[in-house]
């Protein structure tokens, strides 16, 4: 009888993952028999992720992945999303504004195909609302918005932040966007990176706005030496090809 070795390995992998998922689900479904303390839920989640990543890496290529853009407000996430989308689909993703929290819901662009060095990858692009630890409606008044508009914008911004945070666990690759003219060592950046690292989600740091004279992308490299940093200008398109290559080789 003829045996296809790769088929057997694939079936074994499928069986292994199914068995592990089944075991964990069983334990979680019967908490009165096996109680999993909250502190242990993350390590178990990490283990499943690691187990899946290990076998997926060996035997399986995911067809479509989700790419999330994260960062503080006004660092240029939507400008980058628009640049990527325009280059590969001819249409934009969202509206760019100097007023913070312009993006207040997750903007999605599905099935964008990138072709880099003969590799073709398909991704769902997710432009996230900027994450912040505070939203003060008075900050919007400075941009000429009325009191009512400012309060409405603040209310929507808080919801957007919560939505972006919830998505942190559900992206396959993350572009963490930082403004190269600002101090990169913010609590928001640290919290975003810490959560992505804990979930073993591949991270690419994008140092944006390098077209500005004040830009110091080297500060971003110094702050986060453990991550790959790509310096770009979403406005001028400088180095955007390098970003595409980095995305292609990190998926």
């Amino acid at each position: 009888m003829f045996f296809n070795l790769s088929h057997l390995i694939f079936r074994a992998k499928q069986g292994g993952v199914a068995l592990l998922h089944g075991a964990v689900q069983f334990i979680q479904d019967i908490p009165w028999i096996f109680y999993i303390p909250e502190k242990m839920q993350m390590p178990i989640g990490n283990f499943i992720k690691w187990f899946n990543a290990l076998f997926n890496g060996f035997f399986k290529k995911k067809k479509t992945f989700s790419l999330g853009l994260y960062g503080n407000p006004n660092v240029g996430k939507t400008s980058i999303a628009n640049r990527i989308s325009l280059d590969w689909t001819g249409t934009e993703v969202g509206v760019v504004s100097e007023i913070p929290h312009e993006t207040r819901t997750v903007q999605k662009k599905e099935r964008i195909s990138l072709r880099v060095d003969g590799r073709e990858i398909t991704m769902n692009l997710l432009d996230m609302p900027g994450i912040a630890t505070k939203v003060d409606y008075r900050d919007f008044l400075k941009y000429g918005l009325s009191q009512a508009e400012s309060q409405q914008r603040a209310k929507e911004a808080t919801k957007g932040i919560v939505e972006a945070i919830k998505w942190l666990d559900n992206v396959d690759v993350a572009l963490v966007v930082m403004d190269a003219t600002q101090d990169p060592y913010t609590q928001v950046n640290i919290t975003i990176l810490g959560n992505l690292e804990a979930r073993s989600i591949p991270i690419i740091i994008v140092a944006n706005k390098i077209d500005l004279k004040k830009a110091k992308p080297e500060k971003i490299r110094e702050a986060f030496p453990q991550h790959e940093v790509v310096e770009i200008s979403a406005l001028t398109g400088e180095n955007i090809e390098k970003l595409y290559k980095t995305i292609a080789y990190n998926t």
């Binding site: 003060d136 409606y137 008075r138 603040a154 942190l168 609590q187 919290t191 959560n195």
Partner: protein
């Protein structure tokens, strides 16, 4: 008007679940207190704190300023501790953003500027 700063030892948090810790911090901060915690929060706790803060944002409470200062997980042991959900030693400063104007982090220290607006 005086600004109240409370130093919270790590023992206050021992045995507390993530939700309890976040609720404790938010309750204090919403009462216009600046906290210096003898502990660093895990990334999941920081995420939860931001999420819960957003649920409580009002005209009078626009949010928080927070900064942690602790050991970086650079060696294998530290990374393993972090992977298993543990945390390294350090401290955290957190306060209401209507009092704390800025918390700045240097490689060797945290600086905090506070004032009534």
């Amino acid at each position: 008007m005086a600004i109240q700063i409370e130093l919270i030892p790590s023992t206050v948090f021992s045995g507390k679940e993530q939700d309890e810790k976040v609720r404790f911090i938010l309750n204090m901060v919403r009462r216009d207190k600046i906290l210096v915690l003898e502990a660093t929060l895990s990334p999941v706790e920081e995420k939860l704190l931001i999420e819960k803060t957003m649920d409580h944002v009002t005209k009078d409470f626009p949010g928080i300023e927070i900064a942690s200062f602790g050991e970086e997980a650079v060696d294998l042991k530290s990374k393993l501790v972090r992977f298993l959900g543990g945390r390294m030693s350090g401290f955290t400063v957190v306060g209401p953003s209507n009092l704390v104007k800025e918390v700045k982090r240097d490689p060797d220290k945290l600086s905090l500027w506070a004032a009534h607006k």
